[in-house]
């Protein structure tokens, strides 16, 4: 952190916390088998951001976040509604909401950019993310929301575990699955909307999906997976942000994604859980054992 400006340090801190929150919520999304939901919702947030801007007329992050949250929630509800009341499947419903909301967002964005002062508002940054364009109050807002999400995820750890892995039992204990689901959607939306300024609507889903899958390669325990996923997400946030400051006008989002993916490849190869290398080594030693059993003709050795 030494050598960076005061503002840059704050930005770095906020992407760290954002990455951690995204990693944690992403872990929940992974076990809900809803990884791509985050992709739809982050695209669906775009029109809300623009409408938020149109309402107040200046770039004010809290208003735009509120707009994004409303439009992402609307997207989530619509996906539920389409899936629940027609025969259109979930993936198609997600695709529809994603593309139609994003298209509407672009339509509004072009409209606003044409108006006076619109093009200077930096609204374009919401598409690919530009962490460097954040000012101190933005950083504060982002950090506070991400921290809140992180706290909820950790405080209700036991409840999440029950809800995800044995919803029937959870119901029996009096834990409302419906309420847990609602809290989960709110957390997901919050992380997405505070993240889009730094990472952009298109890349936000990567930060939610990739760290969780990477963590899966290092552990079998849900608790550790949550912790590792948070660490990997935070790490990707920091490395990506630092890399993107090396060039002028480089977008932050793609670099954060690249950092996360690099770590995913490392996990895929060397992860002790199910990594390719470990699996290969185990197969190799098994084969050797079998061969030796075959040669000596005794199973005693193998049984041990």
């Amino acid at each position: 952190m030494i050598g960076l400006s005061y503002n840059a340090q704050w930005v770095l801190l906020s992407t760290l916390i954002l990455g951690m929150a995204a990693g944690t919520v992403g872990c929940l999304a992974y076990w809900k088998r809803q990884s791509l939901m985050s992709d739809s919702l982050s695209h669906a947030a775009l029109p809300g951001v623009i409408i938020g801007f149109m309402v107040v007329g200046v770039k004010q992050l809290p208003v735009m976040i509120a707009g994004a949250a409303v439009s992402a929630m609307l997207g989530a509800l619509l996906i539920q509604w389409i899936r629940g009341s027609t025969r259109v499947k979930e993936d198609a419903a997600m695709g529809i909401i994603l593309s139609v909301f994003f298209g509407t967002g672009i339509m509004l964005l072009t409209f606003v950019n044409r108006l006076a002062g619109g093009s200077q508002s930096g609204l374009d940054n919401f598409i690919f993310g530009q962490a460097a364009s954040m000012v101190q109050t933005d950083v504060w807002t982002m950090t506070a929301v991400a921290l809140a999400v992180l706290v909820v995820a950790i405080a209700a750890f036991k409840e999440w575990k029950l809800h995800l892995f044995d919803p029937g039992f959870a119901q029996g204990l009096g834990l409302s699955n419906r309420r847990m689901n609602a809290i989960y959607v709110v957390m997901l939306v919050l992380v997405i909307v505070v993240g889009i300024q730094a990472v952009g609507v298109i890349m936000m889903s990567a930060l939610l999906i990739i760290p969780a899958v990477s963590a899966r390669y290092w552990t079998q325990s849900f608790g550790w997976m949550l912790i590792l996923s948070a660490l990997f997400g935070g790490g990707a946030g920091i490395v990506g942000t630092l890399t993107s400051t090396l060039g002028k006008g480089w977008p932050t989002g793609p670099f954060i994604v690249l950092a996360a993916v690099t770590w995913f490849v490392v996990s895929l190869l060397f992860g002790p859980g199910k990594g390719i290398l470990v699996t290969k080594l185990m197969q190799h030693s098994h084969r050797k054992q079998l061969v030796s059993v075959h040669r000596t003709g005794s199973v005693k050795e193998y049984a041990e």
């Binding site: 088998r33 695709g95 298209g103 990567a206 999906i209």
Partner: protein, 298 residues
């Protein structure tokens, strides 16, 4: 033809081609795969540009098909390693797309490629970029490409109509009949990539998704017959393209964004008013008739 006429023709060709491909995407439940491929063709185009240093239609097509197939193969490979299908799609497409964006932003940013263009398309430039063809005369390059792709798609769909039907509705039966299911899968992925890249120039990466999925999903609500679904989806595609153009003209805003918005309108009409699967029809029908819907059959 007039400037406006060319734009409308381009948009309609996009709607038509995407509408046809979309039907199979919906029936094979691969909507999100289309989302993935439409993003990753960016990488294919950028790499093709870096290798050949020119932005020609053929190179872009080859690059895009390669990127699309790479996406399909990687998704399958990671899925086979024990990652959920959804998560594996999410990883692969964000990764390849990020690499594409970084290449554009750092290396070729000053050239003709720019990220905003590829994402949102620039249909207004299309009538200016013309090529000379024998017999036909001078037509916009995009129209030529789209026509070509439309012909390929039509040929592939009509030529293997029975195979598409069986592999989409009952892959197990198809396999037992000796139809190469895996080959059909990758052929389909190649078709999706070709369609995406041809439509890319006109409507951009994300609006391709709207054109691919939404008209087909709307058609799915109106009919149970496959052939009718193809026709309806193509009609809805063209309808949204034209409607989108006029909305954009009226509001003076992004044409591709308005087209995506228009596909949403078309879907909303089906969603609410379709006589069999619409929300309204369901709510006024007696409860005992609301059984599970039969699948599309022909």
């Amino acid at each position: 033809m007039s400037y406006e006429g060319w734009i409308l023709l381009t948009a309609s060709l996009v709607g038509l081609t995407c509408g046809l491909i979309g039907v199979l995407l919906i029936l094979r439940r691969m909507a999100m795969m289309a989302d993935a491929i439409s993003h990753t063709v960016l990488l294919g185009i950028v790499v093709a540009y870096l290798v050949t240093r020119e932005l020609s239609g053929v190179h872009m097509l080859i690059g895009a098909v390669a990127a699309g197939l790479l996406t399909a193969i990687l998704v399958q490979w990671i899925h086979n390693l024990g990652v959920q299908q959804e998560a594996s799609i999410g990883i692969v497409f964000t990764a390849l797309f990020a690499i594409g964006v970084i290449l554009v932003a750092t290396k070729v940013g000053n050239a003709h490629l720019d990220v905003k263009h590829t994402l949102m398309g620039e249909i207004t430039f299309i009538p200016w970029e013309r090529i000379e063809l024998p017999w036909v005369g001078s037509i916009p390059e995009a129209v030529f490409m789209l026509t070509l792709v439309l012909l390929v798609v039509l040929l592939a769909l009509a030529g293997f109509y029975k195979e598409w039907k069986i592999t989409s509705f009952d892959p197990a039966l198809a396999a037992s009949l000796g139809i190469p299911v895996l080959f059909m899968h990758y052929l389909f992925m190649a078709l999706v990539s070709v369609t995406s890249v041809a439509a890319f120039d006109a409507v951009g990466a994300i609006m391709v998704v709207a054109m691919l999925i939404t008209p087909a999903a709307a058609a799915y609500l109106w009919t149970d017959r496959l052939i009718v679904m193809f026709v309806l989806s193509a009609v809805f595609g063209v309808l949204s393209a034209i409607l989108g153009y006029y909305i954009a003209y009226w509001l003076d805003t992004s044409i591709s964004g308005s087209m995506a918005f228009a596909t949403g309108l078309v879907f909303a009409v089906g969603f609410l008013f379709s006589p069999k699967y619409g929300v309204l029809a369901k709510s006024i029908r007696p409860v005992k008739d609301r059984g599970d819907s039969p699948k599309v059959a022909d």
